[in-house]
C-alpha cells in the first residue's frame, strides 16, 4: 500500500483528504508539526507527498527544495494559487506535479497514480483489481476468471472498474454515468444499458455469471 503524506494546514481538507485517499486504498496521514515537516518527511520516507504552498513556519516551496536536497520523494504541489508563475516555480523546485484547488477528486487520484507509477518505474507491471477471483487488468483492459480471459471495450472496462471500486455497494446509473463522463467517455442512457448488458454477457462467458445485479430504480451492484 502506498504511503501518502499530506502537508496541509486546513483541518477540514486534511481530515477529508485522509478519508478520501484511505477509501481509495492509500495509507494517508498528515503530520501536525509544521516546523519540522522536512525532518518528518525525510525520516518517514512516504511514497508521495501532497504539499500545500501556504503553510505556517515555512512555505511549500522551501519544504520542497529542502526535501529535494536530500531525497527523491515524489512531491505533488496542491495549491489555490493558480498563476503560471507558481506552476513554473513548483516545477523548477523539483515537484513532480502541480494541481490547483479546488480539484476534481478523480483527477487528483489519476495524478497520484500517474506520479507513483512514474517513480516506481513499473509501467510494465499491470494494475490489477481483484474481486472474488475475478481479476481486472486495468492496463490492458482484460478480465479473467478461473483462467478464462476476455477483452473489454473502454466503456465496459470503466463500468466494471467503477463497480469494483464500490464493491458491495449499489452504484446508481447516475453515478456510473458521471464516472464515465469524468473519464471522457460521453455515453447516454441507452448506451449505458447496452454496455452493461454486454459486460454481463462477457462475464458470463468466462464463467462469472450473475455478477452484476440490477436494483430496480436504484442502480447496479457487484455481488
Amino acid at each position: 500500500m502506498s504511503k501518502i503524506m499530506i502537508v496541509e494546514d486546513n483541518e477540514n481538507i486534511k481530515k477529508e483528504l485522509i478519508e478520501f485517499l484511505t477509501r481509495y486504498g492509500y495509507d494517508a496521514y498528515a503530520p501536525n508539526d509544521y516546523e519540522n515537516i522536512v525532518k518528518i518527511a525525510l525520516e518517514d520516507e512516504p511514497n508521495l507527498i501532497l504539499l500545500d504552498i501556504n503553510l505556517p513556519y515555512y512555505d511549500g516551496y522551501y519544504i520542497c527544495r529542502e526535501i529535494r536536497k536530500e531525497k527523491d520523494i515524489p512531491i505533488i504541489i496542491v495549491t489555490s494559487r493558480d498563476s503560471e508563475m507558481d506552476e513554473i516555480m513548483s516545477m523548477n523546485l523539483g515537484a513532480d506535479d502541480f494541481i490547483t484547488k479546488p480539484y476534481n477528486t478523480q483527477i487528483l487520484l489519476a495524478r497520484i497514480a500517474a506520479v507513483l507509477r512514474r517513480v516506481t518505474g513499473n509501467n510494465s507491471i499491470h494494475e490489477i483489481v481483484e474481486h472474488k477471483g475475478l481479476k481486472l487488468n486495468v492496463t490492458n483492459g482484460s478480465v479473467s476468471f478461473n483462467g478464462n480471459n476476455i477483452d473489454l471495450t473502454k466503456n465496459e472496462l470503466k463500468i466494471l472498474l467503477c463497480l469494483l471500486k464500490n464493491k458491495g455497494g449499489i452504484v446508481s446509473r447516475e453515478d456510473l454515468m458521471d464516472y464515465l463522463w469524468n473519464s471522457d467517455l460521453y455515453v447516454d442512457d441507452n448506451t449505458l444499458s447496452v454496455n452493461v448488458t454486454r459486460l454481463r454477457k462477457k462475464l458470463c462467458e468466462i464463467g462469472f455469471s450473475d455478477g452484476i445485479e440490477t436494483k430496480r430504480g436504484l442502480g447496479y451492484i457487484l455481488l
Binding site: N10, N12, I13, F20, S80, D82, I88, N182, Y186, D188
Partner: protein, 337 residues
C-alpha cells in the same frame, strides 16, 4: 492663426483710438492747428500702434501655431504642456502655468484611480484564492458523504466555482498588464476539461457530445482558453433544446489559422441580437425569456480573446442552433519550434 482674424479681434481697440483721435482733431481745429501738424500727430499716434499689433501678432502666432501643430500630432493630447516651450510674453506664460497645473492635477487624479483599481484587483485575486480553500474542503466533504443530496450539492458548488472564476477573469481582463503565459498544448485537452466540468448538466439534460473531429495544437494561454470554452459550453447547455440536444466541437486547419467550432442545435439567437452578444451586459431576447443571464460571459470571452490575439465569432439561426468559432492564428511568428 490668421492675421485678418487677429486684426478683427483688435477692432474695438482701434475704434477707441480713432474716437479719441477725432476728439483731439476737434480740439486742434478749434485751436486752429495747421493740417500738416494734425497729419503728423496721426502718424505719431497710429504708426507705433499698428507696428505693435503686427509684432504682437507674430509672437502669438508662433506660440499658438506651435501648440496646434503639436496637438494634432500628439497621440495622448494631455501631454501637451510637457512638449511645448514656455512662451516669452506675459499672457502666454500665465496660460502655460495654468495648463501645467491642470495637467499635474489630472495625473494625480488618474494615478489615484489607477492605484484604487490595482488594489481592488489584488484584493479580488486574494479573495478568489482564499475562497478556493473552503470550496476544496466542501468538495471533499461531499465526495466522502453519502445520500441523495450529494450530487445536488456538488452541482451547486460547481456553479459557485464557475462564478468565482468569472469574477477572477473579469478583474484580469480589465487590467492593462498581460499576465498570461503562452505555451503549446493540445486543443482537445481544453475541450475535454470543459466538458468534464459540465458533465452533470450534459447527463441530466441528456445532451450528447461529439468531439471526434477535434485535433491539433495551438500556442496560447491554456487557462484562458479553458475559461473561454467553458463559458461557451455553459451557454450551449443553458439554451439547449429539450429533446435530442447535442453539442458538436470540431477543428478545421486552415492555411494560417486553426478554427475551433462549437456548434449546438439549441434555441438559437434572434437575428436582431446576434451582433450584440459580445456587448457587456447584453442579455437580449433569450435572456428575457429564460432568465438568469448577466451578459458577462460572452463579453469576457471576447475581451480575453482580444487580449490573447485570437478571434471569436458567433453565428446563429433562431430555432436551429448556434455556432461559435474560435480562431487561433498560426504563422511562422507563432510557430516557436
Amino acid at each position: 492663426m490668421k492675421i485678418k482674424d487677429y486684426f478683427a479681434s483688435k477692432v474695438p481697440y482701434l475704434i477707441m483710438n480713432l474716437i479719441i483721435y477725432t476728439l483731439t482733431l476737434v480740439i486742434m481745429s478749434i485751436a486752429k492747428t495747421p493740417s500738416i501738424i494734425m497729419f503728423i500727430i496721426f502718424l505719431i499716434w497710429f504708426c507705433p500702434l499698428i507696428i505693435y499689433i503686427i509684432i504682437d501678432f507674430f509672437a502669438k502666432k508662433k506660440f499658438y501655431d506651435d501648440i496646434i501643430g503639436i496637438l494634432d500630432k500628439l497621440d495622448k493630447k494631455y501631454l501637451l504642456p510637457e512638449v511645448i516651450k514656455s512662451p516669452n510674453y506675459y499672457e502666454g506664460k500665465i496660460l502655460y502655468e495654468v495648463l501645467s497645473d491642470c495637467n499635474r492635477n489630472m495625473h494625480e487624479h488618474v494615478n489615484f484611480y489607477k492605484h484604487l483599481q490595482s488594489e481592488y484587483r489584488e484584493y479580488i485575486e486574494t479573495w478568489v484564492h482564499e475562497i478556493k480553500t473552503p470550496i476544496s474542503s466542501s468538495k471533499l466533504i461531499i465526495e466522502n458523504s453519502e445520500g441523495k443530496e450529494k450530487n445536488a450539492l456538488g452541482d451547486e458548488i460547481r456553479k459557485i466555482e464557475d462564478y468565482i472564476n468569472q469574477a477572477l477573469y473579469y478583474s484580469r481582463s480589465t487590467d492593462v498588464s498581460n499576465d498570461y503565459i503562452v505555451r503549446e498544448f493540445e486543443i482537445k485537452e481544453a475541450v475535454k476539461e470543459a466538458i468534464r466540468n459540465n458533465r452533470r448538466d450534459f447527463i441530466n439534460k441528456k445532451i450528447s457530445v461529439d468531439i471526434d473531429r477535434v485535433s491539433g495544437t495551438v500556442i496560447t494561454d491554456i487557462k484562458w482558453i479553458k475559461f473561454i470554452i467553458n463559458q461557451i459550453i455553459i451557454n450551449s447547455i443553458k439554451y439547449s433544446r429539450s429533446k435530442n440536444a447535442m453539442i458538436r466541437v470540431s477543428t478545421t486547419l486552415g492555411k494560417d489559422n486553426l478554427i475551433l467550432a462549437i456548434e449546438d442545435n439549441g434555441i438559437g439567437i434572434p437575428q436582431s441580437d446576434v451582433n450584440r452578444v459580445f456587448d457587456k451586459g447584453f442579455t437580449g431576447e433569450n435572456g428575457r425569456k429564460y432568465g438568469k443571464s448577466t451578459g458577462i460571459g460572452l463579453y469576457l470571452c471576447k475581451k480575453l480573446s482580444d487580449k490573447l490575439g485570437i478571434g471569436i465569432h458567433l453565428s446563429s439561426v433562431e430555432g436551429e442552433g448556434t455556432r461559435v468559432n474560435i480562431i487561433f492564428p498560426i504563422s511562422d511568428f507563432t510557430n516557436i519550434r
